[in-house]
Structures are given as structure tokens and as C-alpha cells.
Symmetry: C2
Subunit: 245 residues, 2 copies
DNA sequence: TAGTGGTCTAGACCACTGA
DNA sequence: CAGTGGTCTAGACCACTAA
């Protein structure tokens, strides 16, 4: 459909698809390095001779592919390589991230004892009016916010939990202070969008695509000890599971 | 910010978020049954007293949440419940779907013998210039297209494969004709967008969010026999993995 | 053929970020 | 305070679907 009627007629409307491909190619060839900010939407729309809405459509497609991401009201950035994540592995976040040559960080948003919600009672198989510890954290890789987690711990197994340093790995804390190790693990993966609280914590637009992973952990004695509700930026990970026969 | 200056001033612009919530509530309460078509975008935008672009933004948010989906140029539909899927399970698609009270269907798009691409050589650990069988299929649940798969089989292990009925389960075919059963399984999950071929096969807009699952299967003797490249509609499944310690 | 979703134009105002 | 992304208005044309 090359309707090049005359040499003068310029392909006036590249369209969102073509813009996406152009940017995609630049990224693939490393002309735009990881975590580098793209030019502003207005500059790009001028560059591609189109409107901001069309240009934005192209950016949203790249976001869906996981090639770029945004920080709310700060701009668009080139996405770094995905983290390989095995939810079955017993290793903790910092070890996993460092093993891949990346820089991990954890921030505790809040920690408290509370009544288990209906959802948490179901996951931890607790009776009504049970008490749990809730820990809300965000985690970074190379400085970038990638994960919002809510941990819920069966309070019966972790007396005095809140007095410990919660910034460190819970896996280590369990082992050192409570002599508890992970046994059977179960998890669920749900592709969805970020809920308001998670979106705010990760400072991304509400409704951004995300991967919701629910982990349910037993200890070495088979007791159901805790569960994690994880919300990952969808472009930040690559789940990899290996299980021998 | 309720600037209700006079009683006459009507809240003119509900905004995409409010529209999303309104529709979300209707869906949650079952007023809009699963797989039912929503009114047209123009009707909805009139109903909510806004533009089509804003209304579309709300629909895209609901799509990201997995609550509604579209069929290209046919309209928006309420998403049915997700299918629980365990990639580690040895059971085949039809059995899995029926076990959840749903109606499965499979269509073979194409089947051929071909040279393995670099990517396939890597996955199947094959030397250069190896021959593989490629089978491309789409699968439905309750009539809805949900999965596009490309199977790649090490041709050395499956002589005369193309002469068999490929519409049935490969698991069964392996067992009945080649005395091959699944052993160790490895898989990867990548949240991304649909590639052009997958989008076309599933008849959805290119760039729709999707879950890309790569399965690598060994047989009972530990031989690497085949791999599947699966592209799921992101709202169609819920991956669930259980592994004893 | 009427109506649909897919795409695009050409602007606008706002809240917020970063210098 | 200038510039940014986030959001919105009010249209338009096209390819395609379904009757």
C-alpha cells in the first residue's frame, strides 16, 4: 500500500504502531540505555509529527510490552532487564537480587498487629477473630521501585515480632529468632492491575498492569505460618520455576 | 473539592476513574453477567456524559483488571471467571478445563516440519540445523479464544507425527503412539503484550496485555522432548502451583 | 448498509516535579 | 516558576462486523 503518488507527498501520519516500532528498534539496539529518561511527550509528538494522544498510545504499547515504564508525573524510562524470580526458592529477596548482579533495597512502610481479614483467615486457615502481624514493605532493584508486599504472619507463632528489625530478611529472622524454616510453598499468579494502595506505594499510575503473586508458606513441621501478597511491576520480573520429577 | 456552588451545578465530569468504579460495581454485583456484551462505546459515553476517549480510558482500566475483554471490532464483554492453571500438572488441557466445569475446544492452525530457529535450538538444546515439528493451535474455554500455542517437538523422537490427529491431546498421543510420558517440567512466565501473530490468532487488538508461558518438557527418561510457547489472554487464567517440600 | 470499534486531530486545563 | 505528565473536550474518518 505504498501510495507514494509523488516524491513530495510525505508519509504524514506514521500512526501509533509505526512510532512504537521506531522506538522499539532504538531501544533494542541500545541507543536508549536502561533507566534513561525518554524526551518529553510533547517533544516526541513533535518529533513524530503527531498528537500527544497518538504518541501516548505508542508509549502505552511499549509499556505493555515491558520495554518502558513510567514514574508518576516524572516521565518515561527505558526498562532494565527483568529479574528472574522463582517463588518456590527458599532464598530471600536480597540474596536473589544480588545473585543476579543487581542492587536490592527494602523499605518498611508499616508493621502492626491486627485482626485478620476474611481473606487472610481463608489463606492462613485461621478461625474468626484471629490475630496476625501485618508488615507492608516496598522493595527496589537498582533503586527502582518494583514490588509492594503485604506479609501476614500467624501471630501465635511469632511472639514479640514487632520488636525486631523488620528491614532485614524475614527468612533470616524466622530462622534466627524462632527456629522456623520454610517447608512446603504454594503460590498463585494473577495478571491484573495495581490496586490504589499498591499503585501509590510504587508511585505509578493507578491501573498500571501488574503481577499479583500470593505465596502461602508452611514451615519445616508443615504448619501454615505466613502468606505474602505481592504486587510486582509487570515489567520487572520473569517467573521461572524448575521442579524435578 | 466539592465545589457545589449552587444546587444547579451538576458534577459535569465524572472522570475515567469514577466511570470505572461504576461499571466495576455493576459487574461485581452480577448485574452484567459473564460474557455479555456491554452497550456500545458511544452509548456508554452518552450515558456517563463524557467523550468516547474518556469512556474508553475507563474500559481500558477494566480490561487491565481483567474484568472485561474485547473481541476486535465486535465490542466489549464481561470476563468470565479465570481458569486455574497449574503448568506443572501432567494433565492435558481438555481434562483440566472440564474438571473446572468449563467447555474446552482446540483448533489446529498449522502443523509442519521445519528447521529449528535459534530460539528453539536454545530451548530444546539442539545443534544447528536441527529439524523440529511445529504445531500452532488456538484453544477456547466456553467458546472464547483464550490461548495461542506453538508447540515445538524434537523431530528425532516423533517419527511420522504429522500423520496423526493433532486436534486431540498431545499428552495422549505421546503416550499411545510413542510410549513417551512427561517427566521433569520447567516453565517461565513473562507478563507482556501479544505479538502480532498471537493477537491475530486470538482476534484481539495487538498490544493487549498477555501472559507468555514457556514450558520445557522432559520425558520419563529425562530426555528433552518438546517445548510450548503459550500466549494466554491475561484475564483468562490464574496460575496456581503447589509443590510439597 | 447502518453501526461498531480503532484511530486520529488539535487543542485545553490541572496538579505536580524539579530547578 | 517553567515544564511535565495526567486528564479531558469535541469532534473526525476508516475498516470492519452483523443484519
Amino acid at each position: 500500500m505504498h501510495q507514494s503518488e509523488t516524491g513530495l507527498v510525505q508519509r504524514s501520519a506514521p500512526g501509533a504502531g509505526a512510532i512504537r516500532q521506531a522506538l522499539q528498534e532504538q531501544i533494542a539496539h541500545g541507543l536508549l540505555p536502561a533507566m534513561e529518561r525518554l524526551p518529553s511527550e510533547r517533544q516526541l509528538s513533535e518529533l513524530f509529527a503527531t498528537t500527544r494522544i497518538t504518541l501516548r498510545e505508542a508509549l502505552l504499547q511499549l509499556e505493555a510490552l515491558g520495554l518502558i515504564y513510567r514514574e508518576e508525573r516524572r516521565g518515561w524510562f527505558v526498562a532494565p532487564p527483568r529479574l528472574a524470580y522463582n517463588p518456590l526458592a527458599r532464598t530471600h529477596f536480597h540474596a536473589m537480587v544480588e545473585a543476579q548482579g543487581r542492587r536490592p533495597a527494602t523499605e518498611v512502610l508499616a508493621a502492626r498487629q491486627m485482626l485478620a481479614s476474611a481473606e487472610i483467615c481463608r489463606l492462613l486457615e485461621l478461625p474468626a477473630l484471629s490475630s496476625v502481624y501485618q508488615i507492608r514493605r516496598v522493595r527496589r532493584v537498582d533503586g527502582r521501585l518494583v514490588l509492594y508486599v503485604e506479609h501476614y504472619l500467624n501471630a501465635a507463632y511469632f511472639p514479640g515480632l514487632l520488636e525486631h528489625d523488620l528491614q532485614r530478611s524475614l527468612t533470616e529472622l524466622y530462622r534466627d529468632r524462632y527456629d522456623i524454616r520454610y517447608g512446603e510453598v504454594r503460590f498463585e499468579i494473577l495478571p491484573t492491575a495495581l490496586l490504589p494502595e499498591a499503585a501509590q506505594a510504587l508511585r505509578v499510575a493507578q491501573g498500571s498492569p501488574a503481577l499479583h503473586i500470593t505465596r502461602i508458606n508452611h514451615d519445616q513441621q508443615g504448619r501454615l505460618i505466613d502468606c505474602d501478597l505481592e504486587f510486582w511491576r509487570h515489567d520487572a520480573i520473569q517467573v521461572r520455576v524448575e521442579v524435578p520429577d
